[in-house]
């Protein structure tokens, strides 16, 4: 093997490696021998860091000196639901600062759940001459001033995508900072912004960028301006409308319908805030070619929704509010045979009583009618074991299954039994299941099923479930491919964690909040397993001020080669050898 490896000149190997893009494959290559490791590290162009604290910027830069594209993720997933207090961390500035000197030819930065400041954006704008792609997904901490810096300085920018970020929206003026000479825009997503951008600046920008294929507008763009924008970009493939509401006027309608008809390449639609049913027919001409439709902000009712989806025979992805009801989902099942992904969001998540007729039956219908359905996110108010078992048998190709029943610990509403067997059927039949979120009344038995069957499971979300540590033990000891585990409000304590301590180093992270893990156990884990950061979050004050047996509020454990971090706020403590001394 050694002889074979050294008989190829470096250039040949490098050329061969240039066809390998996947991180896992690249990692495998780098472990063949020292010379392959060396060659590979010099030609790796794309880095993905799933937890920004798992490794430090200098370590990445030292190993991979010629990177062009970086993707980083920061806060734990439960930060989306307000479970991670402000100030927790996930700051991108240290990364940008390090890369500004190390990677002057950096082209792409993709961030998720990170804190991005205007300083960081300004540094990006002035450090990377060939900067092309900025994607800020669920990020926060920056304002439209930072965006202005990007617009003004990044001459080669192709993609600016702010999806679901929280931006301090000082004004819409930033968009006008794109110089008149700037024509390279391919993708712009400003749907999360609140304030109005100058419509004329927007129209001019759209008009002078011939390669523009994705445009997601914000709510402040009124419906009567949409036609003008579309006419300037008939090559658009993905469009997010602004507010989809206006007084019904025939001329507005006909120019809108005409503009949509002119967009022959349009495959994906989103936006539709405040959608008014009278304007929906404007998109009917393009419905048959749509592959992706996001109506999750459209408060239209089931009749109009049913009429709409019935025309989308090519639909692969649908995001919609539960206004669609079971009846709309039956139509979906009947007409949209190419459906791969369905997400149904709750229109009234806090109401006690159901406001729509959406039940387990809707999901069963879609599972029957759509043979390619493999990704589901479904919010509902009732479920049965039978329905789950039917879905499982219908769709053994399911890879992502996330169910949320609005009421925590809701049992099978017909038999009043826990939903253990239903979810058991899911993991048993769906052998390729990668992601699972469970709901309803669940005992340790469901975890036994998961541990026994969910061998490909990579991410599991659990809330208000289980009886004892045995539940957690089943998952940690059985799920061989588990990478991310997030748990809230479950009666899991120290035992399962400590027995399976070694497992934690094979995972990206574990989140546990409102469980029963004691401070003593956290200290033990932190001391004994050096390559884990065991972070305790407690807003009641230092955990050392309470007995060791006292459960911690929140616990976030992640593997890392960078050691404990030092940018934590006052309510986060890292358990390690030093802290044991400091806190005792």
């Amino acid at each position: 093997m050694l002889r074979m490896a050294s008989s190829f000149p470096e250039e040949v190997l490098e050329h061969v490696f240039s066809f390998i893009y996947d991180d896992k494959d690249r990692n495998a290559i780098s472990m063949v021998c020292k010379s392959w490791y060396e060659i590979e590290r010099w030609c790796r162009r794309r880095i993905f860091v799933g937890n920004c604290y798992a490794v430090s910027p200098p370590m990445v830069i030292r190993r991979f000196p010629e990177v062009r594209s970086v993707e980083l993720k920061g806060k734990p997933h439960f930060a989306d639901f307000n479970l991670v207090p402000e100030g927790w961390g996930g700051y991108v500035y240290p990364w940008i600062a390090a890369m500004a000197t190390a990677y002057p030819w950096l082209e792409e930065i993709r961030l998720k759940r990170m804190v991005v400041t205007d300083e960081a954006l300004e540094l990006i704008a002035k450090s990377f001459k060939n900067f092309k792609v900025l994607v800020l997904s669920s990020c926060e901490g920056f304002s439209t001033d930072g965006l202005a810096a990007i617009a003004a300085n990044c001459r080669n920018l192709k993609e600016l995508d702010l999806r679901e970020s929280e931006v301090d929206d000082l004004s819409g003026h930033w968009l006008s900072h794109f110089p008149d000479s700037y024509t390279s825009l391919v993708s712009l997503n400003i749907s999360c912004l609140g304030s109005e951008v100058s419509f004329s600046a927007l129209e001019r920008l759209v008009g002078r960028c011939p390669n523009l294929r994705t445009l997601r507008l914000n709510r402040a763009v009124p419906l009567d301006r949409l036609a003008n924008i579309l006419c300037r970009a008939p090559q658009l493939v993905e469009l997010g409308t602004g507010t989809y509401s206006a007084e019904l006027q025939p001329d507005v309608f006909s120019s809108l319908a005409g503009a949509f008809s002119g967009c022959k390449e349009l495959r994906s639609l989103s936006g539709f805030w405040d959608a008014v049913p009278g304007y929906l027919p404007a998109i009917y001409p393009i419905c048959p070619s749509l592959t992706s439709l996001n109506l999750s902000y459209a408060t239209i009712q089931s009749t109009d929704l049913t009429k709409l989806v019935s025309q989308c025979q090519s639909l692969q992805r649908l995001w919609v509010l539960d206004y669609i009801e079971d009846i709309g989902l039956e139509a979906l099942a009947a007409f949209c045979k190419d459906l791969r992904e369905l997400r149904v969001f709750p229109s009234e998540p806090f109401a006690q009583e159901p406001n729509v007729s959406l039940t387990e039956q809707g999901l069963v219908s879609v599972s029957e009618g759509c043979p390619k359905l493999h990704s589901v996110l479904y919010f509902c108010r009732q479920m049965t074991n039978d329905a789950l078992a039917t879905i499982a048998r219908n769709r053994p190709n399911m890879t992502r299954f996330r169910l949320c029943i609005i009421e925590p610990r809701a049992p099978d509403y017909i038999t009043l039994q826990p939903l253990d067997d239903g979810f058991g059927a899911i993991v048993e039949h769906c052998k390729d299941l990668q992601r699972l979120s469970m709901a309803g009344l669940l005992t340790d038995r469901v975890f036994e099923h998961i541990g026994n069957h969910a061998k490909k499971l990579e991410m599991l979300s659990v809330a208000f479930a289980g009886d004892s540590d045995l539940g957690l033990h089943h998952v940690l000891s059985g799920c061989e491919n588990l990478r991310k585990l997030e748990i809230r409000d479950c009666p899991f304590g120290d035992k399962a964690l400590l027995v399976n301590a070694a497992k934690l180093e094979t995972m990206r992270s574990l989140w546990m909040s409102s469980c029963s893990v004691s401070f003593g156990a956290c200290k033990l884990l932190g001391q004994k397993i050096p390559r884990l950061n065991v972070e305790v979050m407690d807003e009641r004050g230092p955990p050392g001020s309470r007995p060791e047996s006292c459960p911690v509020e929140k616990l976030y454990i992640y593997r890392t080669v960078a050691g404990p971090r030092f940018d934590m706020p006052g309510f986060v403590w890292t358990m390690d050898e030093d802290s044991a001394l400091r806190l005792s």
């Binding site: 370590m59 190993r63 679901e164 399976n500």
Partner: protein, 251 residues
């Protein structure tokens, strides 16, 4: 017969960039001693916990006693003896007496046994933090649509003149100023920052901008507590605000 139950072997191929081979295991460790302490964790079989504490096995069966001070001593004692155990083995030797323990667990009232967020549902309908698990942007929309239905009814009655044809997804909350008898209402959906909000509020009550520091903005959150608006980020504020009050700064 002592079988070794590995928690999990550490696979070397799934970890990016981690050097798994740097752990140092002392091979001179007394093998007999460590194997005596290795415990089976095997699908409900009952095995006593062999630690130095003589009554630890019995104590371990009771979940409540487990984390008591008494147990803590023998727990740490046990750990010290197995300090040099290879990393593939568990840190804790857990004796599981399944029948006893499971019954205890099942009978336990979950809500009493751990400090979870309460299940109480207040008037706002969202008593549990972060539940249901929807993102901030979607929460706001539904909040808006509920209030906007109320507002729509009101608007139909009053013939709202200053709507400018805006779509009705408003988020009206009551505002009071300290010392002023009549309260007002403001649509929070129109704002993205405290600065702009405070500006408008002061204007509503006739406070000119030079005197803007004369009052502080406070709000009542979904749990009924009154908080200073500037102490929390905008996102948390919008998430939980029920009503507003302007109070004098000199307090």
């Amino acid at each position: 017969m002592m079988e070794l139950q590995l928690g999990l072997a550490l696979p070397t191929d799934t970890i990016k960039g981690l050097d798994l081979n740097s752990y140092v295991f002392d091979p001179n460790k007394d093998a007999a001693r460590s194997s005596r302490q290795l415990i089976i964790m095997n699908q409900g079989m009952v095995h006593p916990w062999l630690s130095t504490g003589t009554n630890s096995a019995a104590a371990a069966a009771e979940d409540d006693d487990f984390i008591s001070n008494h147990q803590k001593r023998s727990f740490y004692d046990a750990f010290e003896e197995i300090y040099d155990m290879p990393r593939t083995l568990p840190l804790l030797l857990w004796s599981k007496q399944p029948n006893e323990e499971e019954d205890d667990e099942r009978n336990k009232d979950h809500e009493k046994s751990f400090p979870s967020a309460s299940n109480k549902v207040d008037g706002a309908g969202d008593g549990i933090v972060g539940w249901p698990p929807i993102k901030f942007q979607r929460r706001k929309i539904s909040h808006r649509s509920r209030k906007s239905r109320m507002e729509n009814d009101r608007r139909v009655d009053n013939g709202c003149a200053d709507c400018h044809g805006r779509p009705s997804n408003s988020m009206y909350v009551k505002v009071k100023m300290e010392g002023v008898a009549i309260g007002r209402k403001i649509d929070l959906s129109l704002y993205n920052s405290f600065q702009a909000l405070k500006h408008t509020l002061l204007g509503m009550f006739g406070i000119c901008q030079e005197n803007s520091s004369s009052h502080k903005l406070t709000f009542q959150d979904s749990e009924g507590d009154w908080l200073l608006a500037d102490d929390v980020p905008w996102r948390s504020f919008i998430w939980s605000v029920q009503r507003l009050k302007l109070i004098r700064s000199s307090r």
